[in-house]
Symmetry: C2
Subunit: 339 residues, 2 copies
């Protein structure tokens, strides 16, 4: 996050935030309203997948307007953004409507954490437009209200989101800069389709799995071990825990009532192959999946080309996205630029 001086009388600002991919997962809330998570999580930002959002506050506009990728938002999407704008209005004690214009450079709702990037960018742009004096820590808590994992898209590089037990104590912070370790996420886009059960509803169902409690009880141990591996650049340990975490979260999803199956047959095929590549071919790569069918292949940067090659060989024609580890959310400017 960068501080930017006010240079206009209009309450307008643009910000950019990256998507992130979690090694230690967020699945299930202790407090659904405040999005206080059942456990702490840990992720890396994705430099090449981002949302750019412009917010203008206006006393004259009658209501909020929201445009995403050039299309006016309606229904549940609009309502969710408005709820977040209400929370920001309450926090900053204002009574204005907002014009929100947002663009993603990657497909929404397909397990690529589009809501993380979106609500991080929205929160930063909205506060910057107000010239509000907000710490990075508070920004992460505010972003969390819109989408839990958005908290992790505010700080730079590798980020830990502390579970906390209140709005203020549930925040995210960087534990290592992007330069610490050049990991790459090679994403196999199994499907661009919008997922049928969104994360918010999914989080609410997590507790209906008899397995969730055991997963949460042991999450802190896995986070500590993975954090140590990350700080020591110990890929083998990071890979083992990352895959275990993904398997545990999907185990909970598949045993929820009703069960949530985010894996597609091709997802499973890639997961099995990635494990073989690491254990039998020595390629430093592991898999993790969010609430969607796409497979994130986390690897050392020097192995990214080999991973992409092998994915293409395994599933000819499959679409692949690739991203280096990214920085934090940034204010781009205080003039209108997005239409």
């Amino acid at each position: 996050m960068q501080a930017v001086k006010a240079d206009s009388n209009r309450n307008i600002a643009r910000a950019r935030a990256h998507s992130n991919i979690a090694f230690i997962k967020y699945w299930g809330n202790r407090d659904q309203q405040l999005r206080l998570p059942a456990s702490s999580s840990l992720s890396m930002n994705l430099a090449d997948l981002y949302t750019t959002t412009e917010v203008e506050w206006s006393a004259s506009a009658e209501r909020d307007s929201v445009s995403i990728d050039g299309v006016p938002a309606t229904g549940a999407v609009l309502a969710r953004v408005q709820r977040h704008l209400h929370a920001l209005r309450r926090r900053f004690d204002i009574n204005q409507s907002a014009r929100v214009t947002s663009r993603n450079n990657f497909p929404m709702g397909a397990g690529l954490a589009s809501s993380a990037a979106a609500f991080a960018a929205l929160t930063l742009a909205a506060t910057a437009a107000l010239r509000a004096d907000v710490t990075e820590k508070e920004l992460t808590s505010l972003a969390r209200l819109g989408s839990g994992s958005a908290a992790r898209s505010i700080p730079a590089g590798y980020v830990q989101w502390h579970r906390g037990d209140s709005h203020e104590s549930s925040f995210a912070e960087s534990i290592a800069a992007p330069e610490h370790w050049q990991l790459v996420d090679v994403i196999a886009l199994v499907s661009r389709a919008h997922k049928s059960v969104g994360s918010t509803r999914g989080h609410a169902s997590a507790a209906s799995s008899i397995l969730q409690e055991a997963r949460i009880r042991s999450a802190g141990t896995r986070l500590a071990a993975l954090k140590r591996a990350l700080l020591q650049r110990d890929f083998a340990t990071l890979a083992r825990i990352t895959e275990e975490e993904s398997n545990l979260m999907h185990a909970v999803m598949m045993t929820s009532q009703p069960p949530l199956f985010y894996w597609e047959p091709q997802s499973l095929r890639i997961m099995r192959a990635v494990r073989r590549w690491r254990l039998e071919a020595g390629i430093q790569v592991c898999y993790t999946l969010d609430a969607g069918p796409n497979v994130h292949c986390i690897c050392l940067s020097e192995h990214a080309a080999a991973v992409a090659d092998r994915l293409g060989g395994l599933l000819p024609g499959i679409e692949i996205l690739q991203s280096k580890v990214g920085g934090g959310a940034t204010v781009l400017g205080r003039e209108s630029a997005l239409g």
Copy 2:
């Protein structure tokens, strides 16, 4: 089980036992040596998948010999059969060697519970050849020593294996005859390959999953509910719990250390389709998988043809086995007939 009168002086007998498919699963042991399971289980016998085994005890033979599907058994397979023969020799206080000849009418080691049918048939043939006076209850406990789920292949129809806490109290019994409900198992043979991690090793790894404890703790509740559904012929409830049980067991497998992935991409494809057929097309069918990639589609007999048709449409060319609910293990005769 049928009683057969001795009609020869040779200590020889042939018996047949069916494979079975569990609705409430057996995965993990409290006592690995005695194969005392972590939880009780419930299954149906498969009339059309069976093993026929002939046993001849002989004072003159120097050592046990074992032939399976015409091939002399060696290595780990031979050793496992011999361990079981030792247990039977101890129980019946004899000192003879056995000649064992066994034939399966279905592929071994592909998640079709070949060891259940095999050790049930072996146990019954071996005791019948001895003219031993053994109750069905004790036969189930003896079969269990060879392969846990073999206990369930001794009684007829729908069978519950009581977990127990000793050799004697861990036994199986029929809870409903085959005539009670004409369920059919339509098996999609995703792979005939022998599984890479056998069930015995798998059972030993179950406790390494942090999810196993929660699964076991709640297994009794699921068994009681499924048993009630079975006795009331309530297919919707049976389907829901059967799929949940399968998902729970595979969740434990996938989160063991190291993880065990028995699902193939095609298994997942079929699972997802079966669920759709039931919930959207009203076909009374549900899925369950054992420690292998093949998908058992349990359905009402009047829907079996539709299920087989749809499987063929989903995966053209896939091999399908089909079985009605079967009776208990039976002695076929006391003369030599298998070569």
